[in-house]
């Protein structure tokens, strides 16, 4: 089963009782989205019975819209966002729910009676039948009521506005302007200004509500490759990260420890993992990000596979402690689900602007490993990679994902635990040959010792360590040597990661370079041009520091190289400082939005044609 949505399109379905005004909400959304130049296809879906009873599945009215910048050929199959105004609407779509999709429900409508009428046995919001979905429980009816309570409308007119609440939320999620709809109402109800005001107010209330609760947009991102045979399930990137960490702990034969503090858009990793206490995962919701990472460092010292998760501002708070993990050479996985910056910035929007912080944001010369995930499902693999490198090389590893893929979903080919490669923590065993800072010859990793083990008692800390013994040392030569050793240790990770691959010819007019969660879109843009016979190639980085061994080779023999990223050129700078012999051109987008295939192709065509 292959979904027919394109990477850049979204499917939304408004569903409610026939009286709930779903068709109006749908068509208002349609005209706004058409107006801002989107492709679209819609599918209004009325109840088949003329007078189906209120609150039953038969009485559900739906409006599905598929919109986007390209590739929209049909209304699509399953929605990315379902708005269910009552239990029946949820039930009616029950078999067409794409796991990991977002479901906005009007919780006010979930009375035991309504639930029964819809044909549910229990309340689907309370049992775990929606565990695979991102459910937003919004009290739509009551908020609608209270938002316009003072207009003095009759109850029927009030309740009739609630479709506008849903519409307001969806407008916020997809960054669409309200003006057109406001005008529509002002015009339509020019003689009934109160009704116009009511609809507009409710729409704004829905819009504000989504902003207030930092609701996150969903999308389907599809790995462009053909799917291999196997069992699949849809997953968001955050869920995949969580599951990947569970798998890594299992393969490394360690307990998983998560120390974290909530922050949008990373919190869902916590929400997901905390459901799985049965697996033995230890969760510490800390008082702040600093305690979050410090607890993880402590847990790592004590032998757990330790993880901390956050987003930009929280990352800033963790930097001092990351330095400690570097100095103490402890394994640690730091997941940063990037959002728009600087400062609080755009908490619900996507961006790739924390790369500099990941590479350089610490006092002193403080090297560590930086990875990124390229699609929702690759979060699973990269979470395992981050864990593997951390415990085998005894180093903190930063894994950068981004709101777009963390919240976006795609089918993931289920990996059973036996299909995954073992992870070999660099544990101390031989007391004779061991010192706190004695190193593995190949990786330069020091040994991991679990407190409680007799004979291996030792002390570590943030002051400069003496080589081998790990005692405090202020000696000049030792410091120089240790700086070098820490650098070399991270550099040697290169021997343990895959080579960089290129899609396309070895020598080209234009090499497109990407990293992180924009993979699908970049791939789509380049593939399209390649099919047109354009002289273009593509390489995408998941390993950002150290860079794969053959990186220099990959850059050779192209007339032009363009680095595409959702920031002001941070990866391009990073490459430029290491490979001065190539010229890295830049295509940066900093709008809190993912790339679009069209804009990329336009740019690439320009670069291909320019002399």
């Amino acid at each position: 089963m292959e979904t027919k949505t394109d990477v850049e399109s979204v499917i939304i379905k408004f569903a409610g009782d026939s009286g709930d005004g779903m068709q109006l909400a749908g068509s208002l959304f349609t005209s706004t989205t058409a107006n801002i130049g989107n492709q679209l296809a819609t599918f209004p879906d009325f109840p088949s019975e003329i007078r189906a009873p209120h609150g039953t599945v038969a009485g559900v009215s739906g409006f599905q819209i598929h919109f986007g910048t390209s590739g929209v050929y049909s209304p699509g199959d399953e929605p990315d966002v379902l708005i269910a105004m009552n239990p029946a609407a949820l039930k009616a779509n029950w078999t067409h729910l794409k796991p990991a999709c977002t479901i906005i429900v009007d919780v006010d409508s979930f009375s035991p009676k309504a639930i029964a009428k819809a044909g549910f046995e229990g309340n689907p919001l309370e049992d775990d039948s929606l565990a695979d979905y991102k459910v937003i429980e919004a009290p739509i009816t009551s908020l609608t009521k209270s938002s316009i309570a003072d207009l003095g409308l009759d109850n029927k007119s009030v309740v009739r506005c609630k479709n506008m609440f849903a519409l307001g939320m969806v407008f916020w999620l997809y960054n669409e302007p309200l003006e057109q709809t406001i005008n529509f109402f002002n015009k339509k109800f020019s003689s009934k200004p109160l009704i116009a005001e009511a609809n507009i107010t409710v729409m704004k209330t829905g819009h504000n509500f989504a902003e207030t609760i930092e609701a996150l947009p969903s999308s389907t991102t599809i790995a462009p490759a053909k799917k291999a045979p196997g069992t699949y399930r849809n997953m968001t990137g955050n869920q995949a990260t969580a599951w990947g960490l569970l798998a890594a702990a299992k393969k490394a034969n360690r307990d998983l420890f998560l120390g974290t503090y909530p922050i949008t858009p990373a919190t869902d990793i916590l929400h997901e993992l905390t459901k799985h206490k049965w697996s033995g995962v230890k969760i510490f919701q800390a008082e702040d990000e600093i305690a979050g990472i410090c607890s993880a460092i402590g847990a790592s010292f004590a032998g757990d596979l330790a993880v901390t998760t956050t987003s930009g501002p929280g990352m800033a708070l963790k930097t001092e402690a990351i330095g400690l993990a570097i100095m103490t050479e402890l394994p640690l996985v730091i997941v940063n689900v990037q959002r728009g910056g600087p400062s609080t910035g755009l908490p619900t929007k996507t961006e790739q602007s924390d790369l500099n912080q990941a590479l350089f944001g610490r006092n002193g010369d403080s090297p560590l490993v930086v990875l990124s995930a390229s699609t929702p499902s690759s979060c699973f693999e990269m979470a395992i990679e981050a864990s593997r490198i951390a415990v085998e090389h005894m180093t903190p590893v930063i894994l950068l994902t981004e709101s777009y893929i963390a919240n976006g979903s795609e089918p993931w080919k289920v990996k059973l635990i036996d299909e995954l490669e073992e992870i070999h923590p660099n544990t101390a065993d031989d007391l004779e040959s061991w010192s706190p800072y004695s190193r593995d010859e190949k990786t330069l990793a020091r040994k991991w010792v679990i407190p409680g083990t007799p004979g291996f008692e030792h002390r570590i800390g943030g002051l400069e360590k003496e080589d081998v013994t790990g005692n405090v040392s202020y000696l000049p030569e030792n410091h120089a040597n240790m700086i070098q050793l820490r650098d070399d240790k991270v550099a040697k990770v290169v021997d343990d990661i895959p080579l960089q691959r290129v899609k396309g010819e070895k020598a080209n007019r234009l090499l497109v370079v990407g990293w992180g969660g924009q993979f699908g879109i970049l791939f789509g843009a380049v593939s399209g041009l390649q099919k047109e016979g354009k002289d273009i190639a593509f390489t995408h980085f998941n390993y950002l520091h150290p860079l794969p061994k053959n990186t220099r080779e990959v850059f050779s023999n192209h007339d032009r190289i363009v680095v595409c990223e959702l920031n002001n050129g941070q990866f391009a700078d990073h490459l430029q400082s290491q490979f001065p012999e190539f010229k890295f051109e830049r295509y940066n987008k900093i709008q809190g939005l993912p790339f679009k295939i069209k804009e990329l192709q336009k740019k690439f065509n320009e670069l291909l044609e320019e002399k």
């Binding site: 799917k227 599951w243 420890f257 800390a286 410090c294 402690a321 409680g452």
Partner: protein, 335 residues
């Protein structure tokens, strides 16, 4: 704790040279810890000392146990991770008044609130020692230091008051001049399950010498120290004939035999009373200063509760393996 050959106090020491100033109060604490551990017979590999930054935070280097000299103020975070990851360890924090109450204040109050089973030694010398003498959050009002040449203008925290305000289950106060008292209190703290704070009035002879002298001086201490013992009347003084009684909501010093006062009138210390009111008053008392275990209340610990919840979920969950999870719910097949 498991059976093991009893180690002598010295065997808990590391081979590192102790670098504190000779005469620093920290030495006595180190000695007391080693004696307490020896008396408790805890194998040294089961002990982990975590610290922040400061003179006192060098502590872990001098113990032959596992140790982590971390970053300023963050020891409770690190120690929490250690304890959750490995609940079998006897986890201790060594931390200064700056480390715990200035930069680390938040972690301090949260660790107390959560009641995770860790023992915190609070070296209160009322000064930032390592950075050469700036006032700390426990320096008394008006104190002249390097960073307050004209005297401070801020009220200090009282660690006991702050602890109890943070839902403390175990708070004790000791003086660095009384190793015996320290040993007893440390043993009690270690055996108490939960977060135990031991405030140590510690002398920094370089930057804040004699700041606790009134309480610790041989000549004055009998009148200034109230040694609390659970279940015992609150008597003190050179002749043990002074005592505390409750006058409305004020603690009043009275003398046995004067104005018809007899031992009946004297308050009896109840460290185990969950109602912290009297303990709160005791911790705020200036003269005499209450020493010993002021509060010690049994309660579930965070680490235990977390562990129990995991075990319960293991029983209850429909998933028995990750494969179960991965294959649960909505999957589909591509051929």
């Amino acid at each position: 704790m498991e059976d093991a050959v009893t180690l002598k106090p010295k065997e808990y020491a590391s081979t590192q040279e102790v670098k504190w100033c000779p005469g620093c109060g920290d030495y006595a604490v180190l000695k007391a810890v080693q004696m307490a551990l020896s008396q408790l017979n805890i194998p040294k590999e089961k002990v982990t000392f975590v610290s922040g930054i400061g003179c006192s935070s060098r502590f872990p280097y001098y113990m032959g146990s596992y140790g982590f000299h971390s970053i300023h103020g963050r020891a409770p975070g690190i120690a929490t991770g250690v304890k959750i990851a490995n609940p079998d360890l006897s986890v201790w924090i060594a931390s200064g008044d700056g480390d715990s109450l200035a930069i680390g204040g938040n972690h301090f109050i949260h660790a107390i609130r959560r009641n995770i089973d860790i023992n915190l030694l609070l070296f209160n010398n009322q000064i930032y020692g390592l950075t050469k003498g700036q006032y700390s959050p426990t320096s008394e009002l008006g104190k002249v230091t390097k960073s307050s040449p004209h005297g401070t203008v801020e009220e200090p925290f009282s660690p006991g008051e702050l602890s109890i305000g943070s839902r403390s289950r175990f708070f004790a106060r000791v003086v660095d001049t009384d190793v015996k008292m320290m040993i007893e209190v440390m043993k009690e703290a270690e055996q108490h399950r939960g977060f135990s704070v031991i405030e140590i009035l510690q002398n920094c002879l370089i930057f804040n010498d004699k700041t606790h002298a009134e309480v610790t001086n041989k000549e004055t201490k009998a009148d200034n120290q109230l040694l609390l013992e659970h279940g015992k009347p609150m008597l003190f003084g050179a002749d043990n004939n002074k005592g505390l009684r409750l006058n409305g909501l004020d603690l009043e010093v009275v003398t046995l035999g004067e104005n018809g006062i007899s031992e009946e009138d004297i308050l009896v210390h109840d460290a185990e009373n969950p109602n912290p009111s009297l303990q709160f008053m005791l911790s705020n008392l200036k003269s005499p200063l209450a020493l010993g275990v002021i509060r010690k209340v049994k309660d579930t610990t965070y680490d235990q509760a977390l562990h129990d919840q995991r075990e319960e979920e293991k029983q209850k969950s429909k998933f028995k393996s990750l494969d179960d999870l991965y294959l649960s719910g909505n999957t589909f097949t591509v051929n």
